[in-house]
């Protein structure tokens, strides 16, 4: 019953919504055609942009401003408290750990994905089965962080010493004569273990972009360097990396932004416990578990402030591209 009516609604939506959107543009064009000729080019663009601008305004621009405003109030949203939510953030043990872990994510995710992506791009470039190898590394991109978390819980699973290990990693360690490690609980390794899940998921992305960048370097430059006796390491360091610097920066900034937003892996794998909290998870906890909207808004505002430099890099790069067009 529920399913039947839902399928019907589904069909109506899949046909109806696009028809509505196309209908909007048809209406716009019909109206514009009735305007005086000089007015047409002035009005038309704004009507074509209107749906996008309204939605962007409501979902991204207005909330960004409102969140900052809310961060200056207490949890009721009525009592102005100045920067109290921010001082709370910077003086509480738990939030500082979230801040530290976000910094870990930022550093490890960007360095490892770029470094591994670059190394794999260079290595894969030399074999005939390059496409297949890339495809394998790229595959995790299709998987949700939630499913990836289950996948990696299976790898990191821990049983006490002496018991049969169920996690791949601990099985290998015990076979080599070591003690099993509680990957998700031990504060010495758990953040790194979680970072690795992100690295596993995003290296393929870095690889694809860096590999395209590598192939755009003219082959004779590298060949000439080889003839002159440069070894592979020198070629990588003095030719490939400098010539790919823009691509490397693009991948790096993308990873920094991904790292700042990381949420799912931690929410599913540890719930932010055992000192693995990050800013995005911490904000969710303040918002839904503690109902501290002011504090949650302050965390969100700090996230945005951290991201602004990367936003500016993004805009500057875009401007440069436009200038070259």
């Amino acid at each position: 019953m529920l399913l039947g009516s839902r399928l019907l609604t589904g069909a109506a939506v899949v046909v109806g919504v696009p028809a509505l959107i196309v209908g909007y543009i048809a209406l716009v064009e019909w109206l514009v055609a009735r305007l005086p000729f000089v007015w047409q080019p002035k009005v038309r663009p704004w009507l074509w942009l209107l749906p996008a601008l309204v939605i962007l305004g409501f979902f991204l621009l207005y909330p960004a401003v409102d969140t900052f405003y809310l961060s200056l109030f207490d949890t009721t949203g009525k009592q102005y408290v100045g920067l109290q939510n921010y001082t709370y953030f910077f003086t509480t043990q738990g939030t500082l750990i979230a801040l530290r872990n976000t910094a870990y994510w930022l550093i490890f995710l960007s360095i490892f994905t770029v470094a591994l992506g670059l190394i794999f791009a260079v290595l894969f470039d030399r074999v005939k089965y390059e496409a297949a190898a890339k495809g394998i590394l790229f595959l995790p991109m299709a998987i949700s962080f939630t499913a990836a978390s289950i996948i990696w819980k299976l790898q990191y699973d821990y049983q006490p010493p002496g018991a049969a290990q169920t996690g791949t990693l601990n099985q290998i360690i015990t076979l080599l004569g070591g003690q099993p490690v509680a990957w998700m609980v031990d504060p010495r390794v758990n953040n790194l273990a979680l970072n690795w899940v992100g690295i596993w998921m995003w290296t393929g992305f870095a690889l694809v972009i860096l590999s395209a960048g590598l192939k755009s370097i003219p082959g004779d430059i590298i060949e000439a360097a080889r003839v002159d006796g440069a070894n592979e390491w020198q070629i990588l360091r003095s030719i490939m990396i400098p010539m790919m610097s823009t691509t490397i920066i693009v991948v790096g900034t993308t990873m920094v932004i991904n790292a700042l937003k990381i949420f799912d892996i931690i929410y599913v794998m540890t719930g932010g416990f055992y000192n693995t909290d990050v800013l995005a998870v911490h904000m969710y906890i303040e918002m839904f578990d503690n109902l501290q909207f002011g504090r949650a808004s302050a965390v969100a505002t700090l996230l945005l402030i951290t991201i602004i430099p990367f936003m500016l890099i993004n805009i500057r790069r875009f401007r440069e591209q436009e200038a070259m067009r």
Binding site: R6, V17, P18, A33, R44, W46, W48, P51, A52, I55, L56, F58, F59, L60, Y62, P63, A64, T67, F120, L123, V127, L137, F138, M141, A142, I143, S144, T146, A147, I150, I151, K153, L154, Q155, A164, T166, T168, W200, A212, E223, A224, R226, V227, V250, L260, K261, D264, Y267, L279, A280, M283, Y284, S297, A300, L303, L304, I307, N314, I315, F318
Partner: protein, 298 residues
């Protein structure tokens, strides 16, 4: 001229010798690549194997023991996932969320991108730079205000609410990608269409859209994967309602409530991965093209 030709020949000859290097000297390279691929594949493979193992064995023995006799393989976990865990319902919910949340933003972005690429208006560049800037705004920044308005409008916990939210969060990238593609279409073609008396409407639907199928395809894959795999937006705007929640929310909840019994979720996780993996493998070409267009546009 001739000397140049000879040096060139010498260089290529040396390069050939270098490249025709022995299989033995290249063995370490193949070995490293093989190991890298193994490290990347084993985790997913382990999940697949585990999902076909019986419940009592999965918690006490490693997945690799499945390859030693007696071979215990069963579909129990899949049956459980579909019946008790409600993954069948969640699968339909995921579809019901994802399809409109992929179609709507692409259409709206296409109109905006067309205006940005082929119409003139004051403030065009500034407006587009703002869109580029919005690409990186963290979702978290927007959740509380949007949720407050949603509560007033009774949109939270509804499908139209989450379609709109995904539309909003997907628009900056969609506009950016499509505008770059539209802008690369030949100007003469559009101008001659206008001279022939085509309206903006026909030029857009009969010329621009059909020519942009590759860009739209890559965008559609992006948006599809992003919505299908999303956890946060669904958690916030749909909440914990079993009749609405997509697979990601369902699995995340079960991980928390099952505690040490999370291994039962291997089948559920695999069900949630099946469709995106098929889409992804079938259309990977378009996906890669989209990534490259979005990052190193040259």
């Amino acid at each position: 001229m001739k000397a140049e030709w000879i040096t060139h020949a010498v260089i290529t000859e040396r390069a050939r010798i270098r490249h025709r290097s022995h299989f033995l000297t290249r063995a370490p390279l193949h070995l490293i690549i093989f190991l890298v691929c193994l490290i990347w594949l084993v985790p997913t493979f382990a999940l697949l194997v585990s999902s076909f193992r019986p419940e009592n064995l999965i918690a006490t023995t490693g997945w690799w023991t499945a390859f030693v006799p007696p071979f215990h393989f069963t579909l129990d976990l899949y049956k459980q996932a579909l019946s008790q865990a409600g993954m069948g319902q969640s699968f339909l919910n995921s579809l019901f969320i994802t399809i409109p949340a992929t179609v709507i933003p692409i259409m709206i972005a296409a109109f905006a991108a067309y205006a940005f690429a082929w119409m003139d208006f004051p403030g065009k560049d500034v407006l587009f730079v703002i869109v580029v800037g919005l690409l990186v705004v963290p979702l978290q920044m927007t959740l509380i205000p949007v949720l407050r308005v949603y509560d007033k409008l009774h949109l939270s916990g509804t499908f139209p609410g989450i379609w709109l939210a995904h539309t909003g969060y997907g628009l900056p990238f969609a506009i950016y990608l499509l505008r770059n593609f539209f802008g690369g279409l030949p100007r003469e073609m559009l101008e001659s269409a206008y001279l022939d008396g085509a309206s903006g409407f026909t030029a857009f639907f009969n010329l621009v859209l059909p020519l942009s199928v590759p860009a739209i395809a890559s965008l559609a894959i992006f948006q599809f994967l992003w919505v299908w795999n999303d956890l946060l937006v669904a958690l916030i705007f749909l909440g914990f309602n079993p009749s609405l929640q997509p697979m990601t929310v369902n699995i995340a909840n079960l991980v928390n409530s099952l505690g040490s019994g999370w291994q039962l979720l291997t089948a559920a996780a695999f069900i949630s991965m099946a469709l995106p993996l098929v889409v992804f493998i079938a259309l990977q070409r378009y996906f890669v093209r989209g990534i490259l267009a979005g990052s190193i546009k040259g």
